[in-house]
């Protein structure tokens, strides 16, 4: 199939960016979206032009690097699919595809489709951990964690930290991201001891980094490639209230 791409190009953080148009020719259905972009880049290189810069690494949907808004939807809008897992069989011959970076005040653009997500790191550094020192901890089976609790924590822990939730939210809130870690640790006995301090410091950091607050749009859950549920935001809100008492 042959496709027309409109891709956001921007030379640097201060540069004025714009959409440029490219043709993707002879694309196979079995190719992945990024392999299709690789081909476009090979053509650009061969014709002496600057290839499109985009973040990617694992190409199997787990590292959270790839971050493209495709036709207005972070990761392209297919259920539980990251950009790198998107395959060209989801498109048809003659389609026009708009490709843009994550857009949020807290995610300044480095170049083209690559953004700076260090704000998410700062949230994690503010409290996304249990303060256990290496060594000197109890036997793994000393704490019994019933299966439903372990499963709930695992559901929350599946967040890959890509930021699609931020990109899809009208307020650019990072609540889904933050709540996933808060919820995982709040339900586990290992995390309960610091739960109050954790939720306070992580939400403070979230606001300090320039993310918006949550007004219940649920766009984040819709966009999340790992199916992280807004119920974790509810958990975070509950933990936050508990911390005030």
């Amino acid at each position: 199939m042959n496709l027309t791409l409109h891709v956001w190009r921007q030379k640097g953080p201060e540069a004025k960016g714009q959409l440029e148009t490219y043709q993707a020719k002879n694309v196979s259905e079995d190719q992945s979206f990024l392999e299709m972009l690789d081909d476009v880049n090979e053509d650009l290189i061969k014709t002496g032009k600057d290839p499109i810069a985009f973040d990617h690494d694992c190409r199997e949907g787990i590292c959270g690097m790839c971050s493209q808004v495709i036709n207005g939807k972070p990761h392209g809008g297919q259920e539980r699919t990251t950009v790198c897992q998107l395959h060209m069989r989801s498109f048809s011959d003659g389609d026009e595809i708009f490709i843009e970076p994550w857009r949020a005040k807290a995610f300044p653009i480095h170049k083209d489709l690559i953004v700076d997500r260090n704000a998410l790191e700062k949230i994690m550094q503010a409290g996304g951990y249990t303060s256990c020192h290496t060594g000197g901890v109890a036997d793994g089976n000393a704490l019994l964690i019933p299966k439903p609790v372990a499963d709930y924590a695992m559901d929350a822990a599946e967040c890959i930290g890509c930021g699609a939730c931020v990109a899809s939210c009208p307020n650019s809130s990072a609540m889904l991201f933050t709540s996933a870690k808060v919820a995982q640790l709040a339900v586990l006995p290992q995390g309960k001891g610091e739960a109050k301090a954790r939720v306070k410091s992580m939400t403070e950091e979230l606001l300090a980094e320039g993310f918006g607050n949550c007004t219940n749009h649920y766009e984040c859950q819709e966009a999340c490639p790992k199916g992280i549920n807004v119920k974790f935001i509810a958990t975070l809100n509950r933990e936050y209230l508990k911390s005030l008492v």
Binding site: G12, S28, D30, Q31, S32, L34, E35, D38, E42, I45, K46, D50, P51, A53, H56, C58, R59, E60, I62, C63, G64, M65, R80, Q85, H87, R89, H110, K111, D116, R117, N118, E121, M124, Q125, A126, G128, Y129, T130, S131, C132, H133, T134, G135, A138, G140, N141, L144, I145, P146, K147, A150, M154, A157, E158, I160, G161, Q184, L188, Q190, G191
Partner: protein, 638 residues
């Protein structure tokens, strides 16, 4: 030169405990005077940086991605081994030690493997304390499953995303130290050279991947936790950015590279769809707990849908060839068995390079929902890539390059022959011998990072004065100048072929000639082709853009340039090792039934290569392997 691994003497059961007592310590108040550079933030690097930071050292950690949590450890799926023996099925530290040595085809150092097995239990405890959500049973106890090469259930897991959860545990510990100020993180920063002063590692040169600027960092010790090199095959299960660069730059500064030809081909990966493929996707070995590998018995059945082939016409070849391990035969054996069926023209799927991994028996036994619970995300991943539902038709899989057992040579303290240079995790050669068992990589990364390096680095640092060499030493400027010169050289080639095209060519040669089956002829062909591709790179590659900007083509070019030198040493290692062991299979050295045939009399040693410059013969140094606790035996899984 005969190398000394400095393994402790005496009874192996006490070896690590005794060694920890014998090593010097660094006084708590003195630790903050030492600066340690950690390159790579995967399981080994993240755990190491966090643990060293907690102890009070001044740590600077580097990763090429935008976050320490992106390291490729994140993609590991199936599980982590430990000798807890919770299932009470016969496991012990000794058995894990034994299985790992045997699994490595008797080509690893005994003492290092014993230590690995011993600390494996501490790792599980540490991860639980971090809140890693391991699978648990209904009463709340940790659950286990089996992996290849073992007859006990010793693998702890978190769905099919164990690597992710373990890495996020280490990452959270690391984040705590960043907040505490003991670890400084440099993201989007790639190590491009090792700085050695008077034979001692004293720092690194890095490239800031956003600005393109080259920067110098001094350290009292340099730790490389930079992963494996199977992207030399171009198509592998590695992430796109994984490379041999950090290790290779160390090799060019004198660090010996051990057993580079020991590469692991993982038996169950999604088959290639076409020649635009950029990487291969792993389907966890844990699937072989419930999946049965088969191909049609008759060639003419290969085009039929699987459901149309009756049971009696199916060749469950692993069960046939290896009755006692069956589908859980170790990876090297399972990979060669799959290739054998396809070479016999009984492969399935497009290109006939695939075998079936069938869950029907298990689904009939425990139900689809149980299978979904154990592997859910893996089936989903498979469907996204192939558009096939593995609950309704068997998965198609084929072997793919996955892991490197070879790596920089290190002694028992994880220090290379270059003093002050430590190497952890997949980047070193130490514990997996010629074949790594499944669920052991996660174990090794965390063992090295949490429980080995904090002790062994102290033993080294206690003997040196901190901060004697800093960035103003001329060696740093020299390194930056040399790196800049190489960068400019690449940008000025202005040829016709892209980096990808040349990388694909290298990968194709390596897969055909130095992949699953190697021969004198194939390796000599590789040794002829590699320099040809390398020459073409330097004459005809088109590296776009500038040095002083975000430039992904330049990044890829630098990594390829290193692969093009490294590949030659890899092929030479394979050619010189005239035996078959683990993942290194020489067609001239096999038993009558096609199994690897070792030559313990002549090759029971670690082959550590000293690089002597492009175009010059590398020099081989040997570390003889002594097996005092395990009897050398033919490695059989029948």
């Amino acid at each position: 030169m005969i190398l000394d691994g400095k393994a402790p003497t005496g009874p192996i059961e006490q070896s690590w405990d005794k060694h920890r007592f014998d090593m010097k310590l660094v006084n708590p108040a003195n630790k903050r005077k030492y600066k340690i550079l950690m390159v790579g933030t995967g399981l080994a690097g993240g755990a190491g940086a966090a643990s060293l930071g907690e102890l009070g050292y001044n740590v600077e950690a580097f990763c090429y991605q935008d976050s320490a949590r992106r390291a490729h450890s994140i993609a590991a799926q199936g599980g982590i081994n430990a000798a807890k023996n919770y299932p009470n099925d016969g496991d012990s530290i000794y058995r894990l030690f034994y299985d790992t040595i045997k699994g490595g085809d008797f080509r690893a150092r005994e003492a290092d493997v014993w230590r690995l097995a011993q600390v494996s239990n501490n790792i599980i405890d540490q991860c639980v304390a971090q809140g890693v959500p391991f699978a648990r049973d209904y009463a709340g106890y940790l659950d286990n499953r089996s992996f290849g090469g073992a007859q006990v259930s010793r693998t702890f897991y978190a769905r099919g995303q164990t690597g992710q959860q373990l890495l996020l545990g280490a990452y959270s510990a690391l984040s705590r130290q960043v907040k505490a100020g003991t670890v400084k993180l440099h993201q989007r920063t790639e190590m491009v050279d090792l700085v050695v002063v008077d034979g001692v590692a004293k720092g690194i040169t890095v490239r800031n991947l956003i600005t393109g600027k080259l920067e110098s960092h001094w350290g009292d010790a340099v730790v490389l936790a930079t992963g494996g090199y199977v992207n030399v095959f171009y198509l592998s299960t590695n992430a796109m950015g994984c490379s041999v660069t950090a290790a290779w730059k160390a090799a060019k500064k004198g660090a010996l590279f051990a057993n580079p030809c020991y590469t692991q081909i993982h038996p169950t990966c999604i088959p290639q769809h076409g020649d635009k493929q950029s990487k291969l996707t792993l389907m966890s070995e844990s699937l072989r707990n419930d999946g049965r590998c088969w191909v049609p018995k008759k060639k003419e059945d290969c085009d039929k849908p699987a459901a149309a082939i009756p049971e009696e016409d199916r060749d469950y070849y692993l069960e046939r060839k290896y009755p006692s391990f069956g589908n859980l035969a170790p990876r090297d054996i399972a990979s060669r068995a799959a290739k054998e069926q396809c070479d016999d023209e009984r492969g399935v799927g497009p290109g006939k390079r695939g075998v079936y991994l069938d869950y029907q028996t298990a689904i009939d036994r425990v139900g689809e929902s149980t299978i979904a619970e154990r592997y859910g995300n893996l089936f989903e991943m498979y469907e996204k890539i192939t558009d096939e539902n593995a609950y309704k038709q068997p998965m198609r899989i084929y072997p793919a390059p996955h892991y490197s057992m070879g790596g920089l040579w290190v002694d028992y303290n994880c220090m290379s022959n270059v003093p002050g240079l430590f190497v952890l995790g997949e980047a070193n050669f130490s514990v997996h011998g010629a074949n790594r068992l499944g669920a052991s990589a996660l174990m090794q990364g965390l063992a090295d990072g949490y429980f080995v390096i904090p002790y062994t680095i102290a033993g080294y640092l206690a003997g040196i004065t901190p901060g004697t060499v800093k960035e103003d030493h001329p060696a740093f400027k020299q390194s930056v100048d040399e790196t800049e010169a190489q960068v400019n050289k690449m940008l000025n080639i202005k040829g016709k072929k892209t980096v990808s095209e040349l990388h694909r060519e290298l990968g194709s040669v390596m897969w055909e000639d130095a992949g699953m089956a190697r021969s004198d002829a194939s390796l000599k062909n590789a040794l002829k082709r590699i320099p040809e591709i390398r020459d073409e790179f330097w004459k005809n590659c088109n590296v776009t853009g500038e040095a002083g900007e975000l430039n992904q083509q330049l990044e890829n070019a630098g990594r390829l340039a290193d692969f093009l030198e490294f590949a030659e040493v890899f092929a030479k290692d394979a050619l010189h090792r005239e035996e078959s062991c683990g993942g290194h299979f020489r067609t001239e050295h096999q038993t009558d039934d096609g199994e690897a045939m070792r030559d313990d009399e002549n090759f029971a040693y670690v082959g550590a290569w000293e690089f002597k410059g492009v175009g010059n013969e590398p020099e081989l140094h040997k570390e003889p392997l002594k097996f005092e606790n395990i009897k050398l035996a033919v490695r059989s899984y029948k």
